[in-house]
């Protein structure tokens, strides 16, 4: 069964434990600036919204890559960047309409959420269950993909 990250902003307190856990797991340091999940703060509304890659099916990043460096891990459903193949051209970073694949100046490559290989640290670190790792059917993934559809350049004929 495919699982995915489910994010419930109503439960987020803005503690940034997810960013810390992500950065430690993927970069070996506690530095929220290097996290693949990001908590956005809405001061006026007093809200916090964690946000990361939705691992879309026909991923823009994957299709835009000129050197075939982004591939789906069929076990986890995550789109993963092959660091050895990525040349750091950044085309994926402008092609992804969600802004969730980003250039890392330190490595000269791009980084994105890879679901930590199927055991995402952000979900484990979240103290309020604003971020959970659950059966994909329950995440509203379809809803997220519907937004994604608004950005498609192609329109498929009905039927």
């Amino acid at each position: 069964m495919l699982r995915s990250l489910s994010i419930d902003p109503d439960k987020c307190t803005g503690c940034l434990q997810c960013e810390m856990a992500c950065s430690l797991e993927n970069e070996g340091i506690f530095n929220p600036a290097r996290s693949r999940i990001k908590v956005f703060t809405f001061h006026e509304e007093g809200r916090f919204v964690p946000y990361t890659c939705t691992q879309c099916d026909e991923a823009w990043c994957m299709h835009a890559c000129p050197v075939d460096a982004i591939k789906m891990n069929f076990q986890t459903g995550a789109l993963e960047v092959n660091e050895k193949t990525c040349v750091g051209c950044k085309v994926c970073t402008i092609a992804c309409p969600f802004g969730t694949i980003n250039y890392n100046r330190v490595s000269g490559k791009v980084i994105k959420c890879d679901l930590c290989g199927g055991d995402p640290e952000c979900a484990k670190a979240c103290p309020t269950q604003a971020i959970t790792y659950v059966d994909s059917d329950a995440t509203g993934l379809e809803k997220m993909r519907a937004w994604a559809g608004k950005t498609d350049n192609a329109q498929h004929a009905a039927g």
């Binding site: 902003p9 990001k38 956005f40 703060t41 809405f42 809200r47 919204v49 946000y51 823009w60 299709h63 835009a64 000129p66 050197v67 075939d68 193949t85 040349v87 750091g88 051209c89 950044k90 085309v91 970073t93 402008i94 092609a95 992804c96 309409p97 969600f98 802004g99 969730t100 694949i101 980003n102 250039y103 100046r105 000269g108 937004w147 608004k150 950005t151 498609d152 350049n153 192609a154 329109q155 498929h156 004929a157």
Partner: protein
């Protein structure tokens, strides 16, 4: 069904793969005019700085990949195409027949009309062969002239400078990358390059190139004479569609006119990528974008329609670019020059080479230019292509353009 794909760049390869996915039994041939396996020109700057080897430029890395997909890759250049006999004649004298053909022949550099430019010291930067010539032609301290500070010129600057070239860039526009960056952005980029030791001459053209012993002298429009061991010309490209003249396929400004199905004026002939005169998302007008994401969009849509006619419509692609010029990253989206009656907002941190300008039409984002920004810039595409009404977030963006991610979350997810 017999498919022929002319062109072995990203559009050709993605089209062939899509055709294979949709028609497991069809015959698929890619015809490419370079000896190497299909590769990415986008990767050449990274080859030039030794980040990758030539294999790192290949579009597909696995040995025998195309054979494993039952896709034939044939080397040869299409010389002519005859819709009546549904055949293409190649430079090797071969005749290839097809039921449906995709023309994805891309473009090639043009040399500016300059006296003496036909000199062995002058090269373009387009193919792997060009890359080898450039790598061999630069020695530490060697004077090099780059004609054109457009996208290609800028993206290879780092390679030229790190190889030790003593570099002069000559650009006819009044700023660097005038077709992608606004005044402020282009001028800041020039300052950045000058600070890194590159001599940048804008609003300048090359009058003549004269032999000078082992080198050449590049004479500029304002009378300067710049000695160069190597001259790299990156002064524009044109589509490779001349071989279609007389075939009945309608050409527009040298590119192939296509409809929403990526179909040319001749029904079984389709086009994709830098050779296709196709729809721009923002303007609704037709033209050539010549960018990787658009080429790949075209390819997938064309292939779908080649297998199942009129099954997928092209809605127009958003023009976008990202450019790394010696470590300074710039990006452009859509109508970055703004629209009549629209508003714009900008934030500038000149000292740190950071800049963002957003362009609005009513309460919709229609374009953007950025400099020195690398995080979450993709949402600019999301906001533009979703044609989202920003409502109160427009004013918030006007006062702080850096809040694009928050604006995106607010309008798409009610955050």
């Amino acid at each position: 069904m017999k498919y022929l794909v002319i062109g072995a760049g990203p559009a050709g390869v993605v089209a062939a793969e899509t055709l294979r996915k949709l028609d497991p039994a069809g015959s698929i041939t890619i015809l490419g005019d370079e000896p190497e396996p299909p590769y990415s020109r986008m990767a050449i700057p990274y080859l030039l700085i030794d980040n990758i080897d030539e294999q790192g430029t290949y579009l597909r890395k696995d040995d025998g990949y195309f054979a494993s997909k039952n896709i034939d890759v044939v080397v040869g250049r299409a010389e002519s195409l005859d819709p009546a006999s549904k055949s293409v004649t190649t430079s090797n004298g071969e005749t290839l027949t097809w039921d449906k053909v995709l023309v994805a022949t891309g473009s090639r550099p043009i040399l500016p009309p300059v006296d003496g430019i036909d000199n062995e010291k002058v090269t373009t930067c387009w193919t792997l062969e060009d890359a080898r010539r450039i790598a061999a032609g630069i020695t530490p301290g060697a004077p090099v002239v780059l004609i054109g500070a457009g996208f290609i010129g800028c993206i290879i600057l780092e390679a030229l400078v790190s190889a030790g070239a003593n570099l002069t860039v000559i650009e006819m526009g009044d700023r660097m990358v005038p077709r992608m960056l606004d005044d402020r952005c282009g001028s800041l980029l020039e300052k950045w390059c000058e600070a890194k030791g590159v001599n940048v001459l804008t609003s300048t053209t090359v009058k003549a190139i004269e032999p000078d012993g082992d080198a050449v002298k590049v004479i500029t429009s304002d009378g300067q004479s710049v000695t160069a061991n190597l001259v790299i010309s990156a002064a524009g490209v044109k589509p490779n569609a001349e071989f279609l003249e007389g075939s009945g396929v309608t050409l527009m400004d040298g590119g192939i006119e296509v409809n929403q199905y990526m179909q040319s004026s001749v029904p079984d002939i389709y086009a994709a990528g830098d050779v296709a005169w196709s729809k721009d998302f923002s303007t609704g007008e037709f033209g050539i974008q010549a960018i990787q994401p658009t080429a790949v969009d075209h390819a997938r849509i064309a292939a779908n329609n080649m297998v199942t006619p009129r099954s997928v419509e092209h809605q127009g692609s958003v023009n976008m670019n990202v450019l790394d010029t010696m470590g300074l990253i710039s990006a452009s989206y859509g109508l970055w020059q703004g629209v009549d009656g629209g508003e714009s907002t900008e934030l500038l941190d000149e000292e740190n080479y950071r800049y963002i300008r957003l362009q609005f039409d009513g309460d919709q984002l229609v374009g953007a230019n950025t400099l020195g920004m690398t995080q979450h810039i993709g949402v600019l595409r999301g906001l533009i292509q979703g044609r989202f009404h920003l409502g109160e977030w427009k004013d918030r963006l006007v006062s702080n353009p850096l809040q694009v991610m928050e604006a995106y979350l607010a309008v798409t997810q009610g955050a």
